[in-house]
Symmetry: D2
Subunit: 250 residues, 4 copies
């Protein structure tokens, strides 16, 4: 089987350099170009790239993707900053390039995507649910964006299932003890030297507890997700938003 020819745009960044290594180490992929700041996009076509992994900056992503789509190069995108306007623009371009696919993934961590997905599915079966995220003490926001999004997805699933408020007989509390309230789901943020990025979703009902936990030790944990995206985008024309769409979870 011939290898998929892959380029990395943003190859010298923290994620990009991991992607260069991961593509290089995969038997079924061939790294044909690694572009840094200032490198010309024409390198992609000259190298015959079939898929571009785009890990740059909101300022440059639209230009990079325009070039890719125009030239029939599929793209796997980790760069953030997507608005409805930007998505509409991108979709318009893809309409004119019917065989080409773009995957935009807010999170390439397979464990993180599974946690969110399973949390959403489990939500309607349990009377109680809380989220505990644990990170290194250098993190600026509390709770993490992933924890907030997880709680929102859970809250929506509860509403759709007709579940009411969670049981909680607390009458005397120290301020903050019961966590942050995200759409009715308590979220707790722990900060400890030595941690990296961890999240637990705890569900409870009469006599049983069900827990999902994800531990991410370093940036290499995103690479299986990036590679999965590369392998699937070649046969998924159009715009795909979210890695879960390539994970066959149904």
């Amino acid at each position: 089987m011939s290898k998929i020819r892959v380029a990395v745009i943003g190859a010298h960044g923290r994620m990009g350099s991991e992607a260069v290594k991961a593509v290089g180490a995969a038997d079924d992929l061939e790294l044909v170009a690694a572009l840094g700041r200032g490198d010309k996009l024409e390198t992609l076509t000259e190298a015959g790239a079939q898929v571009a992994v785009e890990l740059t900056h909101p300022d440059s992503v639209m230009g990079n993707l325009e070039f890719c789509v125009t030239n029939g190069i599929h793209a796997v995108v980790g760069t953030t900053g997507w608005t409805d306007d930007r998505l509409a623009t991108l979709k318009g371009r893809l309409d004119s390039a019917p065989g080409t696919g773009v995957l935009i993934a807010p999170n390439f961590g397979i464990g993180a995507v599974l946690t969110m997905r399973f949390a959403q599915q489990a939500a309607r079966f349990f009377e109680s649910v809380e989220v505990v995220e644990l990170h290194h003490p250098g993190k600026a926001d509390a709770p993490s964006g992933t924890a907030v999004r997880t709680a929102q997805l859970i809250a929506r699933a509860r509403r759709e299932a007709g579940l009411g408020d969670q049981p909680d007989a607390t009458t005397t509390a120290l301020e903050g003890a019961r966590g942050a309230d995200v759409d009715g789901v308590p979220v707790h943020a722990v900060r400890l030297r030595g941690l990296v990025a961890h999240q637990e979703v705890l569900f409870g009902d009469a006599g049983e507890i069900f827990t999902l936990r994800h531990d991410s030790m370093n940036r290499s944990s995103f690479m299986p997700g990036v590679l999965l995206g590369v392998r699937r985008i070649v046969s998924a024309p159009g715009l795909t938003f979210g890695l879960e769409n390539f994970m066959d979870l149904d």
Copy 2:
């Protein structure tokens, strides 16, 4: 909305008495009969039961279900001992009673069912996976049947995804240290005074760990699953095997 009229067969057993309480406490269900050993099945028709919860013994379950199906009473069955022959017999009877439904559930624990289901779905994304089950020291078998079944489902999902053997550089090991081998998935059984029934499925890949954990504290944990079965069987004619079919997990 009128309440579903529910009977419990085997109402004085350990599971049955929990079921009597749980049905009695549910706003949308009405307990119309509670049959113990020696009580006549005709009580079910006299009481106008729509659904029978069958929690007896392999010796009596076939007779009880024959009566139910013949009289158009749906059944939710926790009694074990199902062979292919028995299932075929039951299916034959249901063919002659087109509106009637029977749910047989080897496990009514929603957390246990979710653990198995999610473990199966997650399996193909991780290079490594092991199962650790933890129970009270009075348990006779190790590993638990649920852990063995979970490992088998994971092993099958790995095979279907084309995953090979798990990485393991062990060259020197004390006997038993690496657990039991269930189709290539190591399973460890912990026995501690004070535990009830617990299971962890640990998945690992480069830089990340994803864990499913289920803690079952007592028999009441099976009741949400029994009630879910009761609510769904009234509109699910024919034979359904496994609670997961009523959990809309796709």
Copy 3:
């Protein structure tokens, strides 16, 4: 070896009835009396009790102990409500009964006592520490008294070791996300149907995390502590406050 002759005062309460069972089941103890409300204290002397397990109410504990100490009966006390005044009174009585011992234990849970003790000892070795307690949703206070006391003991140990504030770069937080602040130690309270009483103390430093966890499933978990107290009080004259003093942890 002759058995220790034990009486239970408050034998019909929730703790007391557990104590009656636990004493009865212990090979080296003999249950000689079980007093409920209204029973005469003279029963203790008539039955030849050597140790009384006192599990009643702040209103009756002082009278009960006066009787015990006067009659040379050792006591193991779980009843709460101890003020400095009450302790002084009790000490005065014990001074006049030199061979007799009284153990007052705010917590008979051996795991809880170990968690507090070890947390105190570990505190000075780690830059970061947080407490997460998890209870059933019927609990009125958040955090639990045990969690608050654990955090206070940790905070004191940190001060004594000259440790400063914990590292925390949080600049944007949802209210409550970072928990309650107990003397500089964040404490998080989780409430879930299906939980009983659980506590985690998480310590972190460069590259490592150290965790103490205690899970209490039911009231029987206090009985090993009660029995330990009974066995030790017969050779520990005077007043002992806290089960840890009988645990030889040094």
Copy 4:
């Protein structure tokens, strides 16, 4: 306060290079020499080192320590391979250098040392105990040396407390399910891609579970222990074996 003058021997090894960084970053320590293979030991005296951190190889450690002790330089030693003969030789040398101290530490991980110490102390209070260690799949031995040593310490503490066999009603088991038997303590070894080095000690008794867990993410986790050794060895003449002796755990 003047800084302690510290040298690192074996400064280019994996542990040594971490030690160079850690000493350099500590406010109360000054790195005065960093010796690699072939560097002359006289550098230590020329640089005025007060403490040498010895992280080399069993072949060179005796010569290095002879030089240090002769010259009144305290040593903190992570190199392994200590036999009774070697220890006797070292003690002899220290007898002739009364003010000088040497710390030999088989494990500088503070969390690991605490886990072993607390496990030993907790052992006699619980009917059941098992050890679960979890490591990356490149590890050659199972269980880990630390887990075996922890189990041995627990087994000894149980014997000394007169505890008998652990309760275990297992009659049907898959081979290996119940782990390795280390002096009567079951030890389970989990191997997963993505893990580093982790250990859990689970104690159980009626109605309660007490757990110690240690997660070591990388080699930097040993540095707080190395620095603790450096700070304490200057006032601890003679031979000290084991970091726990400097941790004031009594």
